[in-house]
């Protein structure tokens, strides 16, 4: 994310430089009394490079796409069941990262969560 942000800032700076170059080109045209038909080819290339940098930043900085399936791997939580003599320990980590450990001293069938 830091890299994406830096690339975005560089892209904006490149666009600023292209704007400055175009202003100078226009003032040159005013001196030679010619019409402005478009910025020079270097400026157009510079704008294209700036656009590519900004596009890359716009796609990476806001964040990743998260899966919307309710049963996908990212949304699942894992339960680990360990049998210890006559007691059982359940370790559950839910998708928010909270861990719950429960010790049950009964011989209940071990429920594995899918």
């Amino acid at each position: 994310m830091g890299l994406g942000f830096t690339v975005g800032v560089i892209g904006v700076l490149i666009l600023g430089h292209a704007a400055y170059s175009t202003i100078q080109y226009r003032s040159l045209l005013k001196i030679t009394e010619e019409e402005f038909s478009g910025p020079p080819m270097e400026v157009v290339l510079e704008l294209l490079v700036g656009l590519l940098f900004c596009m890359w930043a716009a796609l990476t900085v806001p964040g990743k796409f998260l899966s919307v399936h309710p049963h996908s791997d990212e949304n699942r939580y894992v339960s680990l069941c360990v049998r210890l003599r006559y007691s059982q320990i359940y370790c559950v980590v839910d998708f928010t990262g909270n861990t719950y450990v429960t010790l049950v001293r009964l011989t209940v069938s071990c429920l594995l969560c899918i």
Binding site: A19, P39, G50, A58, F65, V68, Y77, L111, C113
Partner: protein, 121 residues
Amino acid sequence: MAVGHGDSSSSDKKPTDALNDLQTFNAENLQSNMKVIYYSRTFLSIIGGVIAGILGFNGVIGIVFYFLVMAVTSAALAAKAKFSVHSYFDSWNRILLDGFFGGLMSFVLFWTFAYDIVHIF
């Protein structure tokens, strides 16, 4: 004690109901994805406006340029979703059309701004 299934408060139905599986979404993630699209489109509308102003576009050609930038953005977002749109959204319209016209206002604002700075002042 009981180990239940991973139901977040935003999921709707029981996981065993296979018929409804396609309509069940993790709404929290869907909203987060929509926000990502919104931020990307808004930023690129602004950048597109600045570029249109620098290039000196007037009139219809500027609007055409905006649609071009938005089309490229849609393609890039589809590529970011690895073209399996249904894993991240509920329909193709989200990625192709959502926010299309919302960015138009920002585009015109920055287009006017950049054009004034570069060509008039």
